[in-house]
């Protein structure tokens, strides 16, 4: 990994007295897909939320593109969040807006672009993911897979340099997982930098450049998918992988 676009160094975070992250080090290279795996409660979501400032850290730094410290006291987080998008497990679409308005809201209000321009961009993105027919629908009329793809498009419309995905397929019917993962694959091939927490190991093996295993609040082991899945070095990693359904 030559040029890291996101460097996490010595990040600690606990909720009250409950430690979740205990010194996380992680380098994300530009145009790479990094997959976070680990048991439930191992801190994957917390780490992703720290990465775009939705959660504050107790110690450590998260450097974006070599210059902006996400964890800095004076950092303008609105600027950071324009550059780092995030998509959640529960799509969190705005229920009172159409799909088109969900997508166009942030570009219009944050980037101060014209309505027509933003609507065109939104329509283009919808078409790219096969959803152009849904532009005028309200979120409650979408299937889970469609809603999650709209959520991805909504984050994408801000043209972020990095996308964080937090178990975006966990709430989906198994039949709908594929269409969302295809969307992620499409983004990856388009050169977007991706950090993703997932339980979809097949997908991780397929798409990831780097797999990180979180355990006990640290990155216990990381490497290429082949390394981690075929010949994990740590006994805990082996144990975690062997417990997964195949």
């Amino acid at each position: 990994m030559n040029s890291a676009i996101l460097s996490v160094r010595g990040v600690w975070k606990s909720f009250d007295e409950h430690p979740v992250l205990r010194g996380i080090d992680l380098e994300v290279g530009a145009h790479q897909a990094v997959v976070l795996i680990g048991a439930s409660g191992s801190g994957k979501s917390t780490l992703l939320r720290c990465m775009n400032g939705l959660e504050s850290v107790d110690a450590g730094t998260i450097i974006l593109d070599g210059d902006v410290d996400v964890t800095g006291f004076d950092t303008d987080l609105d600027v950071v969040r324009r550059r780092i998008g995030i998509v959640f497990q529960s799509y969190n679409l705005f229920p009172h807006m159409t799909v088109l308005d969900n997508i166009a809201l942030a570009p219009r209000k944050v980037l101060r672009r014209g309505r027509a321009e933003c609507d065109d961009q939104a329509r283009g993105l919808l078409a790219r993911f096969g959803l152009e027919a849904k532009a005028g629908e309200y979120p409650d009329r979408l299937s889970g897979g469609q809603a999650q793809r709209v959520a991805i498009i909504r984050a994408l419309a801000m043209e972020p340099e990095i996308m964080l995905f937090d178990e975006i397929t966990s709430a989906l019917d198994p039949l709908l997982v594929g269409e969302v993962l295809d969307a992620v694959r499409e983004l990856k091939s388009g050169g977007l930098t991706i950090v993703m927490a997932t339980h979809e190991m097949t997908f991780a093996r397929d798409v990831a450049d780097q797999v990180c295993f979180l355990q006990g609040g640290v990155v216990l082991e990381q490497g290429s998918p082949a390394q981690i899945f075929e010949s994990p070095g740590e006994p805990e990693t082996q144990q975690f992988l062997s417990r997964l359904p195949h």
Partner: protein, 289 residues
């Protein structure tokens, strides 16, 4: 199954006409039974009431036709003042309620004074009976004899209603804001929207939608409470009825005034019910989002 049923998949929608007819017949029968039962009930109640020994006296004092006809136009005219009080007060209440609710969501330390004032306002005006606020403002402020202060009873009565209801409505709005799931706020912030933009475009529209039914209930009770301004003396509908009744010792004008209020609140209540059931069914239709 009807003979003419289309082959499976041949039509978009198909309902067996014989089945449909039975459903309609049953609905018609249910409606008839309901009407007949209601009609019988009304007849029985009327007979019981009118044959009771006290009825003629009650009818003479409360339901006197002559008295009704002579006082009702005056009542209606006086009610126009209630309507005006309501029409002026309601928008002001909504504005104050929303501003106070928003002020209480401010988190930055520099806004601490605003937050404290807003909290005090709600605590005080929600705790004091509305009629007491009306007395305090309506009699108290003019007694100060401050230069340039309005002395008009209607002005102070309306101001008291606005202050009192503003506190209630602020709490309604606050509950609405709290009812928007935190993940909505998080999603908006994660897109780079500022705190203000998040409130303006994501939280408030949903909050307001959620509180329309309780707000309508407050409207209805405000409509009735415009009569409280009567204690300050202006001739609105209750004061008019009081004057009429005391000149003849007949209480029919009070019943007339009650009818006027009912005529206005019943449609509003039905409207509130309708809004409520509509938003309920819509929420049921909505999935996770």
């Amino acid at each position: 199954m009807s003979v003419l049923a289309p082959a499976p998949g041949a039509a978009e929608v198909y309902r067996d006409p014989a089945r449909q007819a039975r459903v309609r017949r049953r609905a018609r029968r249910d409606a008839l039974v309901g009407m007949a039962s209601l009609f019988g009930f009304v007849i029985v109640v009327s007979i019981v009431v009118s044959s009771s020994p006290g009825w003629p006296a009650v009818q003479e004092t409360f339901f006197n036709g002559q008295e009704f006809i002579s006082t009702f136009p005056g009542l209606l005219e006086a009610f126009w003042l209630n309507v005006r009080i309501f029409l002026v007060a309601e928008p002001l209440i909504l504005i104050i309620g929303l501003l106070v609710a928003l002020a209480r969501t401010l988190r930055s330390p520099i806004f601490l004074p605003i937050r404290v004032v807003a909290t005090l306002y709600v605590d005080i005006f929600r705790g004091v009976p509305t009629i007491l606020v009306i007395f305090l403002l309506g009699f108290g402020v003019p007694a100060l004899r401050i230069e340039g202060m309005p002395k008009d009873a209607v002005f102070w009565g309306t101001a008291a209603l606005v202050l009192s209801y503003g506190a209630y409505v602020a709490e309604v709005f606050r509950a609405g804001i709290d009812s928007v799931h935190p993940s909505q706020r998080m999603a908006a912030r994660s897109l780079g929207l500022s705190l203000f933009q998040t409130n303006r475009h994501v939280v408030l529209p949903q909050a307001v939608r959620n509180v329309v039914p309780p707000l309508l209930n407050d409207f209805i009770s405000l409509q009735k409470d415009t009569a409280l301004v009567a204690v300050l003396g202006p001739i609105e509908v209750l004061r008019r009825a009081q004057i009429d009744a005391s000149s003849t010792f007949n209480y029919t004008p009070y019943v007339g005034a009650a009818l006027i209020f009912i005529a206005l609140t019943i449609p509003m209540t039905r409207f509130a019910d309708w809004i409520q059931s509509r938003s309920r069914s819509r929420r049921r239709a909505g999935g996770t989002s």
